[in-house]
């Protein structure tokens, strides 16, 4: 079962820079490793991470095989209005996961 943890302030003042920390459970299998019988383990990584704030993309990142398992991504954005932040991870084998967090801006 895939789990993601998002650490984001629940409230913020308008114009404030907020820090968001995300952690997702994923093996990030490089595709370069061999198993115990010498067969190459097929690549299985996250390829893209996107954060949308009230539908607008505010941050995105491309991920590559050299990135460790269970990637941690931290970034900042400016609190503009109350709404939802959505976080999407897309990866190999049709992997996709979206989490949402609400924020109240005063």
């Amino acid at each position: 079962m895939v789990r993601a943890l998002i650490n984001c302030p629940k409230t913020a003042k308008k114009g404030e820079v907020i820090e968001i920390k995300t952690l997702i459970s994923h093996v990030m299998e490089t595709g370069y490793r061999a198993d115990s019988v010498g067969k190459v383990v097929p690549r299985d990584i996250l390829r893209r991470f996107t954060c949308r704030y009230a539908g607008e993309q505010v941050f995105s990142a491309d991920l590559y095989p050299a990135i460790a398992a269970n990637p941690f991504i931290s970034f900042t954005t400016v609190a503009t209005a109350s709404g939802t932040l959505s976080f999407t991870w897309d990866g190999d084998n049709g992997f996709t996961q979206t989490e949402t967090v609400a924020i109240i801006v005063t």
Binding site: R3, K21, L23, A69
Partner: protein, 254 residues
């Protein structure tokens, strides 16, 4: 003058003697780089919290036709506080010590009538790290149960017995040479305060038994299988050695 000097110096000597006698035990945490320490200390950074989240979901989820863990034990933060700090403990039915993971599995088999979780499975590591988290900060408290004593002594003997082709005992590294380096990595004192740990080398969570098996493979000994009595005896001895040190679960180690 000399008498004055003695009056000043003697208390200092006594004080430093006392300081030396004080606790010299150090958690593996103190041997890590500051970035790895920060990873453990901040929950938002600690990948072990992913397993904790898994464990929390399992705790509250009832398997078909059975009670959930919470159904009997209630909320984990209240009901499981301090529990992990006491394991391994003596099991009345098996008449021997069991560790926390064996305890979880026996609850699962006898109370929930479900198949036991496999060793090192996400579910078992998740539940044990979730239960372990409820003891975070509390002192390791091995039970003062005389029935554990023979197993504890066998664990101590295993810790001190040379094994494998390299013919090393645990003690030769972890008692005689902690703080020195082995292939570039600092040797800790082997206090199992953070288990299950997220080990960066594994890129995953793992139990104390997995770590013990790593060390055994390292000295080219045949590791004991998961759940072997010897493993539990070693765990029991290590926990006794670490008594009163704070629990760190979920720990992060390099």
């Amino acid at each position: 003058m000399p008498r004055d000097l003695i009056r000043i110096v003697l208390p200092l000597v006594l004080a430093s003697g006392l300081a030396l006698a004080a606790d010299q035990r150090r958690s593996g945490f103190e041997f890590m780089s500051s970035s790895t320490q920060q990873m453990q200390q901040e929950d938002a950074l600690n990948p072990g919290m992913l397993w904790v989240a898994e464990g929390e979901a399992l705790w509250n989820e009832a398997p078909a036709g059975a009670q959930s863990c919470a159904g009997c034990h209630g909320d984990a933060p209240a009901g499981m506080r301090g529990v992990a700090a006491r394991y391994p403990a003596f099991d009345e039915h098996r008449k021997k010590p069991v560790d926390l993971q064996q305890r979880i599995n026996s609850c699962r088999e006898t109370r929930q009538q479900q198949p036991a979780f496999a060793a090192e499975s996400r579910a078992l590591l998740g539940l044990s790290s979730y239960i372990g988290l409820q003891s975070r900060g509390l002192p390791v408290a091995p039970p003062d149960d005389p029935r554990l004593q023979p197993a504890r002594l066998r664990g101590a003997a295993l810790f001190n017995a040379p094994m494998g082709q390299l013919n090393f005992s645990c003690a030769q590294c972890h008692t005689d040479n902690p703080g020195r380096r082995l292939a570039g990595s600092p040797i800790p004192q082997a206090h199992p305060t953070g288990y299950p740990i997220y080990r960066l080398e594994w890129q995953a969570m793992g139990s104390l038994q997995r770590r013990l098996r790593n060390c055994m493979t390292g000295v080219r000994a045949e590791p004991y299988p998961y759940g072997a009595d010897e493993m539990v005896e070693l765990e029991l001895y290590l926990n006794t050695r670490a008594a009163s040190m704070p629990v760190e679960t979920p720990g992060v180690r390099p």
